[in-house]
């Protein structure tokens, strides 16, 4: 930002306008008694350390190794995922969609940023931003190309626009040459984007 010659030195000089605004808002809400500052810390810690895409990766690895679980995921993803230990806010109503050589699934929320928090954590910036939200529905193959994915002509793209409170988890295809791997080893090769549908696992 160009300097206008005035002296801006003060105690918060390193903070941006939005940072100052949020800081002031937090002070006001604490002062009014509307928020418990300790609760804010716990909320942040939860999404920084406890709830993230490793959860979803465990669900995927289990689906790859346990056909009965995969079947349960197809029929009642909310209950199947809860059995692995993940449920609650922004994952109350889950649907799992399975990639196959014929169909590649991809999830978007064109209207806001709906995302399955219990299994994937907080969404990345690109997922919440206009380029992805606008283009995922009209030109999904160009979106996939930006992530380095080129699908076979014969593979159909199936886009899920999360317009209500249903949250979608993509179960990517299990990579070749992973036959001997344990569930834990498999979970380690499942990346976040593969569970949104913008990359392959592995």
């Amino acid at each position: 930002m160009p300097h206008d010659g005035h002296d801006h030195e003060h105690e918060n000089s390193e903070l941006s306008p939005i940072a100052l605004r949020v800081k002031a808002l937090e002070s006001l809400l604490v002062e009014k008694g509307y928020v418990d500052p300790a609760a804010l810390d716990v909320l942040i810690d939860t999404y920084e350390t406890k709830i993230g895409p490793r959860n979803g990766a465990k669900v995927v690895a289990k689906a790859w190794t346990d056909p009965a679980f995969a079947d349960w995921l197809k029929k009642d993803a909310t209950a199947a995922i809860e059995s692995v230990g993940y449920s609650g806010r922004q994952g109350e109503h889950m649907v799992a969609v399975f990639n196959t050589p014929e169909i590649h699934n991809m999830v978007v929320c064109t209207l806001c940023s709906c995302y399955p928090w219990p299994v994937l954590g907080l969404p990345p910036v690109w997922y919440k931003s206009p380029p992805y939200r606008s283009r995922a529905v009209i030109d999904p193959r160009s979106v996939l190309a930006e992530f380095g994915m080129t699908l076979a002509e014969t593979t159909k793209v199936s886009v899920w626009d999360s317009t209500a409170e249903i949250r979608y988890l993509v179960i990517p295809m299990r990579p070749a040459n992973t036959e001997g791997m344990s569930e834990e080893q498999l979970a380690a090769i499942v990346n976040r984007d593969s569970m949104i549908g913008t990359r392959l696992a592995g």
Binding site: I18, A19, V22, K23, L25, E26, L28, L29, K32, G33, Y34, V35, D36, A38, A39, L40, V42, L43, I44, T46, Y47, E48, I51, S87, G88, R89, Q90, E92, H93, V108, T110, L111, C112, S113, G121, L122, P124, W126, S129, P130, P131, R133, S134, R135, V137, I138, D139, R141, V143, E146, K156, V157, S158, V159, W160, D161, A164, E165, I166, T198
Partner: protein, 206 residues
Amino acid sequence: MNGPQDLGGMMGFGAIAPEANEPLFHAPWEKRALALSLAMGATRQWSIDTSRHAREKIPHHQYWSLSYYEIWIEGLLRLMNERNMLDGPPKTLPRLEAQNVAPVLAKGSACNREVSSPPLFNIGDRVRVRNLQPMGHTRLPGYLRGKTGEIALHHKAHVFPDSNAHGSGENPQHLYTVRFFARHVFGKNADDFLQADLFEPYLEAP
């Protein structure tokens, strides 16, 4: 409303530019913005639908130039201003205490509701999306108006955002996942599919 949030099918926003090894937050204030938004939701002065509507009422030029957590903060300020909560005297409200964060997040807020009315549509039925242009909140994306698809899933009844966002009650409605051929929606991508979750009042028999 035909607001800045209704992005499906728009052009010209540029590259998606996924960031390698993206951090969960890009600045410390983003953490506080997330936590403040969640904690203020727990005061039960508005529903998730009302908060979404507050964000989509941000003018287009502003919405499209703000980062996502900036949109959340702008929405939160609007919600509080509308209720005179920033300048008015403090009120006694339900407060999310630190020890309750884990159980509250684990419980979530399920949106499914029991209704006595049977669903109008069955899986496999052809449906057409009504040409609705409400001034208020809706979860019908503009790009699907007038399009014809097929019922793929029925989720029973859920809270109806178009009503709940305006404090007019939950008015639960049957919710369906409707499957469209991409070519019927955007005239290309011949055999690709597109699904959206649509409430029964958005739909009619073709």
